[in-house]
Amino acid sequence: MINIFNYIAPILLQAEAISAPGIKDRVLEGLFNVNINNFLVLSALLFVIGVAGVLTRRNVIVIFMSIELILNSVNINLVAFSRYWFLQSEGKNAYMGEIFTIFVIVVAAAEAVVGLGIVIAFYRNKETVAVDEIDLMKW
């Protein structure tokens, strides 16, 4: 069963914390101390925007570009954790995040190439790139 209170409790705690005195200075100081959470929020935002792009656009090339945006948000996550982990673990396996990011970029490039090859091959037959007109196999 989904325990909804687990999700609402932090929000309620936030609401209570907001009414505490001196909150504005602490919020400002927290805002200007950028740490891993800011990177995670940014990555999550870009991920959601990418998914919205994939689900709402009609042009298959723009859908591919939104997929690249999703992969890019994952890259931000990896690099941020690489730097965070570097300081926590005194340099052991410190650059694994960055190396994995390079592999993600390589695989994204390979996948974009093959995907665009498919788009071109399809365009030669049907003269369209709208994703709802590519329905040759629809029953």
Binding site: S66, L69, L87, V114
Partner: protein
């Protein structure tokens, strides 16, 4: 890891630019405009990588993503010669897709809030370590003390992760062969039509 002062301002600048241009990208009508806005997002992301001292990844991002993958995207958009999309705003796809992404956003926000356990903004104790100063070892780089990021990434890439490296080059080979085969003109079929 703690970025303060000018670095925090730059972080917010790059982050706002990235998110703003990403939103513009998924709502642009013209496909070439979408590609250009994605390029701007990727360049802002490369700036973020530079802020956390990951210079090699930033260089690789601009070289491969912007200079390779997106140039290929623009080539294909021009070859396919897309007209602008029609302006009917509230198609069924848009409503369903928008609703699904909204619920995804809610779920993501819930997870983020839960991991912070209520202290989302006022977070950092002053004893958290900042980004460390660059290691100054003058026997490594001949002239000045420059960042060791490329050297360390190269050392780890070719010793610890050499197997994924070779597999990545195989993936690229497969992609090249596949793309050439897919996009080839079939002369045989044309002649014996």
């Amino acid at each position: 890891m703690r970025l303060v002062g000018l670095e925090a301002v730059l972080f917010y600048l790059f982050a706002v630019v990235a998110v703003l241009f990403a939103v513009f990208m998924i709502t642009a009508r013209n496909a070439v405009h979408s590609a250009l806005l994605l390029i701007s997002t990727l360049v802002a992301t490369a700036g973020l990588y530079l802020l956390v001292n990951a210079e090699f990844v930033a260089g690789v991002q601009i070289l491969i993503y912007v200079g390779g993958v997106l140039v290929l995207f623009i080539f294909v958009i021009m070859l396919v010669n897309v007209k602008e999309e029609d302006t009917n705003m509230f198609t069924r796809q848009l409503i369903v897709g928008g609703a699904l992404s909204f619920f995804l956003a809610l779920g993501v926000i819930a997870i983020l809030l839960q991991t912070q356990k209520g202290n989302f903004f006022t977070l950092v104790s002053p004893s958290a370590p900042k980004i460390e100063q660059v290691q100054s070892s003058s026997n490594i780089s001949p002239s000045h003390n420059i960042s060791q990021n490329t050297i360390k990434v190269g050392q780890e890439l070719y010793t610890k992760t050499v197997l994924p490296f070779e597999i990545a080059s195989l993936i690229l080979l497969v992609a090249i062969v596949g793309a050439v085969h897919l996009a080839r003109e079939r002369k045989q079929e044309k002649i014996y039509d």
